[in-house]
């Protein structure tokens, strides 16, 4: 790999016109259907990714969002060498992932929320030792990383307990340790907080944020949990039905698709709701709380007007929840906005 100067950002991940098709055998319904598809299976080609392109520079943390089956995980799997691309060009850290070169695999990691690499019947420390051998880590580096990871993720006391006896949240954090012991430069995180409680989610999020900053690691993250994305990623790629629907800064996404803001008010006296209709759309009313939806540009005026003319105890202006915005993106998926 050539050395690039500090001024010009290094392109760590390059994806150009990537397409991935899957052959799927269709099963007919019922017993006779099963038998007939046994002898004459009907093959169908499913386009999981349709000609997508994007690049990531070194140290970027990008959120990858989209509904189930949109192609998020497929993209991560192609980039991490698990899936063979049907067409297109991909390069990560200067390597073609499919070659599965040791030098490449030593620099990346794929963490999936539902995957376990820890040996179920043994304490996690055994898996860590195996990881150390497989990645050929020098003892000193290994011990340093292990110490750092276990204390950041707060799992020091768990490493010597048989994995099967740990809770899901504890196990997930240990999976993280195992996946990051080799200090990868590129990290693919697929649903890293799935199934975790709120506290554990926050721990994992803090950790990802910290890891990204400390190691200047390039991170691609998929999640259903919008908090993950909103808290971690500045840039988001929205993917839907195998294509990219939006690629850009998170706040641009909000500006573009959230044409309205929400004004939340707490009334001090009961008031006729109808009067609010003149100012904006009433989305919810549940005395003493009311939520109005106001066009972006006029929120300030509307707020002033409300405070002047109504008995209001408290007023806040909020953006639409990200989920809502994303949903809007999917509805308008034809408008392609690539920054």
């Amino acid at each position: 790999m050539s050395k690039t100067s500090d001024k010009k950002p290094e392109r760590t991940i390059i994806v150009e016109h990537l397409t991935k098709n899957f052959e799927v055998t269709e099963k007919k319904k019922g017993l006779t259907g099963s038998i007939s598809s046994l002898f004459s299976p009907k093959k169908k080609t499913v386009q999981a990714l349709k000609n997508i392109s994007f690049t990531l520079t070194r140290g970027e943390l990008v959120g990858f969002i989209g509904p189930n089956g949109a192609g998020k995980t497929t993209t991560l799997k192609v980039l991490s060498s698990l899936l063979y691309p049907t067409a297109g060009f991909i390069q990560v850290l200067g390597f073609n992932p499919w070659d599965r070169k040791s030098e490449y695999l030593k620099q990346i990691s794929l963490v999936m929320g539902q995957k376990n690499q820890l040996w179920w019947d043994l304490p996690a420390s055994e898996t860590f030792e195996l990881v150390r051998a497989i990645y050929e880590l020098p003892k000193r580096e290994y011990e340093k990383n292990l110490d750092e990871l276990t204390s950041l993720l707060n799992v020091k006391k768990l490493v010597n307990i048989q994995v099967r006896r740990l809770s899901l949240g504890q196990r997930m954090r240990l999976e993280f340790v195992a996946s990051l012991l080799h200090n990868p430069k590129v990290l693919f995180l697929d649903e890293p907080t799935i199934g975790l409680d709120v506290v554990a989610q926050q721990k994992v999020r803090d950790f990802i944020f910290d890891y990204n900053r400390r190691h200047k690691a390039t991170i691609m993250l998929t999640s259903h949990n919008m908090d993950d994305v909103a808290n971690l990623a500045k840039r988001v790629i929205v993917i839907n039905k195998g294509g990219i629907a939006f690629d850009g800064k998170l706040n641009e996404l909000v500006k573009k698709f959230a044409r309205e803001k929400m004004i939340k008010i707490y009334l001090s006296k009961e008031t006729d709701i109808k009067k609010f209709e003149k100012i904006g759309k009433v989305k919810r009313f549940n005395y003493p709380q009311a939520v109005l939806s106001i066009p972006r540009e006029t929120t300030a005026i509307a707020a002033a007007e409300l405070l002047q003319n109504f008995p209001i105890a408290d007023l806040t202006i909020e953006e639409d929840p990200i989920e809502e915005i994303i949903r809007r993106v999917f509805r308008k998926e034809k408008t392609k906005l690539v920054s």
Partner: protein, 267 residues
């Protein structure tokens, strides 16, 4: 090399975590041998009787030899590979800088060491209990060829398992059926793990000789018993070597194709 040593170690430890499972598996093996033993013991009522070219000592040695050879050749962790392909656990290994074949070969070796250790103990015990007439091979060349042939046999079994384990790349739900077909039907019946193959009609034997199966159990034991010596034994080793190479080539090409259609399911 060090990575594979560590794989050996952790695989060994894993085996101990499943103690009961392992003991059950060994019991099954012993019971099977005991049954076959009594069957042949009854067939050879007097020790002078010769059936299918075997006297009592040789047939009972064959049965005893089965314990050791089966423990060495047929104990293979890589029987799990088909399930890994179907279930997507394969992904865990593919994203690591480790050779998947060598990984499983190492795990197989660890399993073989453990099984062999137990098999020797078991056969000594059974020998003391049953006190059968026993044939001891003293010719050094035969013993050496016996050893080479079981190493080749283990390798052939490993590669065969890997070839059939690739079927779930295309038909994910076939994992279990394939395993059954290979380990039970092909290996138990066609390799000589239940009875020496030369009791079969000659025509059938001739067909079997064109498959790799007899080289897994039957052939090594024939060498031990001194029924195959010199040039014929050497020729057999050569043929099983060729099988190993051919199957290795097939395995590599099938896996290359399989990985291209791999869908990394379930994960």
């Amino acid at each position: 090399m060090k990575k594979y040593l560590q794989i050996f170690k952790i695989s060994f430890q894993q085996e101990f975590a499943y103690r009961t499972n392992f003991i059950m598996w060994r019991m099954r093996n012993v019971l099977q041998i005991v049954l076959v033993f009594f069957l042949w013991d009854a067939a050879f009522s007097s020790s002078e009787k010769i059936l299918f070219g075997y006297d009592k000592a040789k047939i009972l040695t064959y049965v005893f030899g089965l314990i050791i050879v089966k423990a060495f050749v047929l104990s293979a962790k890589s029987a799990d590979v088909a399930g890994e392909v179907a279930g997507g656990e394969l992904s865990n290994h593919l994203i690591k800088p480790v050779n998947y074949f060598k990984y499983w070969l190492t795990r197989d070796v660890s399993s073989k060491v453990l099984n062999l250790f137990f098999a020797i103990g078991e056969s000594v015990l059974l020998f003391l209990i049953l006190k059968p007439p026993f044939f001891i091979q003293t010719n050094f060349l035969s013993l050496l060829m016996f050893f080479v042939s079981i190493v080749l046999a283990s390798f052939i079994f490993f590669v065969l398992l890997f070839i059939t384990s690739s079927i779930p790349f295309w038909v994910p739900e076939a994992a279990w059926g394939v395993h059954f077909l290979i380990t039970v039907v092909a290996v138990e019946f066609l390799s000589g793990a239940l009875f020496p193959l030369d009791v079969l009609p000659l025509a059938l034997q001739n067909i079997l000789n064109f498959t790799p199966f007899p080289y897994m159990i039957f052939f090594p034991l024939q060498i031990y018993l001194g029924k195959l010596t010199g040039f014929i034994a050497f020729k057999g080793i050569f043929v099983s070597g060729i099988w190993a190479v051919i199957l290795w080539g097939v395995m590599n090409s099938v896996w290359r194709k399989g990985l291209k259609v791999y869908q990394a399911h379930g994960r």
